[in-house]
């Protein structure tokens, strides 16, 4: 690994700031293109979809316990529970699954 963490963070921060700052400082007109508006509207959801699947299945180091955690999260999210409740449920379910597997495999 040759790239330093400082360089990574510098690029991250620089690009993120420019994206926020340039339109705020320079542009004074509204975006007219409907396609661009819709595209930007869908971007966060596309990002979340790509980042969550399949990565979430490897997030606990064990696909089985992660699957249990994801199932719990989906279930609670479908019931419109808040972010914290859903995240906590995913952790607890994954932890319980790991405990159970350890118990059964010993």
């Amino acid at each position: 690994m040759t790239t330093s963490i400082v360089a990574y963070i510098g690029v991250m921060a620089g690009v993120t700031y420019l994206v926020r700052m340039l339109p705020f400082v320079i542009f004074r007109k509204k975006i007219k293109s409907r396609f661009v508006k819709d595209f930007l509207y869908y971007v966060p959801y596309a990002v979340l979809g790509a980042m969550t699947i399949p990565a979430a299945f490897y997030s606990t180091g064990n696909v089985a316990s992660a699957s249990v955690g994801i199932a719990a999260a989906v279930l609670l999210a479908l019931k419109n529970k808040g972010l914290l409740a859903v995240a906590a449920a995913a952790c607890i379910a994954a932890f319980a699954a790991e405990l159970l597997m350890k118990f059964l495999l010993v």
Binding site: I5, L22, F24, L48, I70, A73, L78, L83
Partner: protein, 240 residues
């Protein structure tokens, strides 16, 4: 009707619920960072300088995969491109006191939630209000990351691995409710997730790094969503 301008104090108050929400998300980001081998300190610096969730998580995976700086820049550009639209939209309702130096400074704090609250205000946005609104979320986002990083470093392995799923639980909680209401959001998420799996598992694409995978999925799925499910006049109604 009072004509008083929006104050710093009012901004602070509006920032409280955002800050509380940020604490938990950044806490899980801190855990995810140390789990992937990035120090708590580095993770905290990332949070203090970026103030965004999705971009930071993607950045983390690029750092741990030793990706290139170009990949990092492109990933941040595309994932955070939505802020450009928010900045643009918010720039239309700024108070005359919002001079260029204030714009340079306040632009740093435009996040999904801060934008949503600021643009929902019936009055024009003053610099004082904007700084008040940004302050607590910024502090909570930074402190939460540090605490998560420290907790992630000291917790036993099994507990830590279970906590590694927290941030994905939050992601799921963010996209599932709107995906139930909007076919466009649902299809966008499905296309993006399917492509993400394809890029990961199909041997032909095994050289595509995680950062570029997110870029490709985001561009294609968002474009598909915009083409297949145009949102009509909804956006204008929302912006008023």
């Amino acid at each position: 009707m009072e004509s008083k301008k929006l104050s710093f104090k009012e901004g602070l108050a509006d920032g409280v619920p955002i800050g509380l929400g940020y604490l938990s998300v950044s806490f899980s980001f801190g855990i995810a960072a140390v789990t992937q081998g990035v120090s708590a300190l580095a993770a905290t610096v990332v949070s203090m300088t970026n103030l965004t969730s999705a971009g930071q998580v993607a950045g983390l995976s690029i750092i741990t995969a030793a990706g290139t700086l170009l990949e990092m820049a492109l990933a941040q550009l595309i994932i955070n491109m939505r802020y450009a639209l928010m900045s643009l939209s918010l720039s239309q309702k700024l108070d005359t006191g919002f001079t260029t130096p204030h714009r340079f400074l306040a632009a740093f704090g435009i996040t999904d939630e801060i934008f949503a609250v600021a643009s929902g205000k019936p009055k024009e946005i003053t610099p004082s209000y904007m700084y008040g609104l940004i302050l607590l979320p910024f502090l909570c986002w930074s402190a939460g990351t540090l605490l998560g990083g420290i907790a992630g470093s000291v917790l036993p392995e099994m507990l830590r691995s279970a906590l590694g799923i927290a941030i994905y639980g939050m992601f799921i909680a963010i996209f599932i409710p709107p995906a139930r209401k909007s076919a466009g959001v649902l299809v966008t998420v499905i296309i993006s997730a399917a492509m993400s799996c394809g890029l990961r598992y199909i041997p032909l694409f095994s050289h595509v790094s995680s950062g570029f995978a997110i870029i490709i999925c985001t561009l294609a799925a968002s474009a598909a969503g915009a083409i297949l499910f145009p949102r009509g006049g909804q956006k204008e109604a929302e912006a008023e």
